[in-house]
Symmetry: C2
Subunit: 236 residues, 2 copies
């Protein structure tokens, strides 16, 4: 937690307050925050501030803003991921949010176990988004969309997202063309499930405007490949 | 598991055998391997083969090699990481091995909790190396070294690792100079603990030949920053 994310209504009066149990516990255990300390605070979907701590009690911490701070820029990328196992989903959301992905789409695919769509984590996405934002020092949540049918998404929705200045790259190990690096434009990245997309899916993605590109001969897990690809693409 | 890693003694006779419980269970549960199937196999510290499955029993799977396969190249990088929490250590080892890091050094630092050096995971590193190799399709384990004293390491060991064609980069958020991208030479990367290196440590690293470089204004967790940096550095 590198900033404390507050709801706008907690910052309406002159004195701001932190009252969420999770945040109070973290600040007590890891920061040992005291009156007089400064604390970085972000207002959900709003600005970020350096604040001064005025008082600390069991139930709340009172603050006042001192100075506005810059919010880190987002990466101009939409990440489309075949719905992963619940444990992987949690990390994937947190990491993508931390790294500044603008939009995340969770997609069904042939090798995705249908039970993954029943995970209670899908009801807790906001919590993992918050953790990612507080880690990064960001205040603006990415958009998250779910598509439980592969073909209609790829044929009807995906083509509208692809332009000459916003290409779509699907990571596929058996391609000769390499994933680009150091790009200066926006793009969409598509990451398959464990075991990969099936040939029919790769063909359908290509037919609908995606470029299949390789990341080399090592086979990398979903949760690892996402930061690896983002570091590669946006290194300019 | 994208290859099955075998000890050389399991491949000494004409017929090879898989007998480790972990591997047998994985192959039964996830691959449903049958006689006549092909299976990718790596010999520890040796070559990689496509094999044919000859028989499958509760206790073992018998194979014979059909053709030799290429082993993915390593990244020419030494990764020095402040000793992380046990849970993070496990992921960090697996991911670094999967991505092809040549050498991993775990280092003490002011903000590293001393109890981290007592974790039983340190006795199980070989297991997590194996999982990383089997994920990547690699057979060659990286070297892993532990240094429990920061200053003697930085003053006496680290300088011997730094050359004009092998620089050392320490990730530090407050630097103007950016982490390089798309390099074509080897290097050493140094990643601090949660909360970062203290100023004294950064100064000592710089005095001993390291370049402090920034990864931008987002603060990224250790386990996420490693694939992110490797993707950025080795994108050429």
């Amino acid at each position: 937690m590198n900033i404390v994310l507050l709801d706008p209504r907690q910052t309406e009066s002159e004195l701001w307050s932190i009252s969420a149990k999770r945040q109070l516990e973290h600040l007590r255990a890891h920061v040992d925050v005291q009156a007089g300390d400064t604390l970085k605070v972000g207002v959900r979907e709003g600005k970020r501030y350096l604040t001064e701590v005025l008082s600390v009690t069991e139930q709340q911490i009172q603050l006042k803003p001192i100075a506005e701070e810059a919010i880190p820029a987002k990466l101009p990328v939409t990440l489309i991921v075949a719905m992963p196992r619940p444990k992987v989903l949690r990390r994937l959301i947190m990491d993508s949010v931390t790294l500044g992905v603008e939009k995340i789409i969770l997609l069904h695919s042939y090798r995705v176990d249908k039970s993954y769509w029943q995970t209670p984590f899908l009801q807790q996405l906001q919590h993992y988004i918050d953790l990612g934002l507080e880690q990064a020092g960001d205040t603006v949540a990415p958009k998250i969309e779910l598509y439980k049918r592969f073909k209609p998404f790829v044929e009807d929705v995906l083509p509208l997202m692809i332009h000459s200045d916003c290409p779509a790259y699907v990571a596929h190990p058996y391609e000769l063309q390499k994933m680009p690096a150091g790009i200066a434009h926006s793009c969409t990245i598509i990451i398959g499930p464990e075991g990969g997309f099936i040939p029919y899916e790769i063909e359908l993605l290509k037919k609908n405007g995606c470029q299949a590109v390789s990341l080399g001969s090592r086979i990398i897990r979903t949760e690892t490949v996402i930061p690896y690809v983002l570091g590669r693409l946006f290194s300019a």
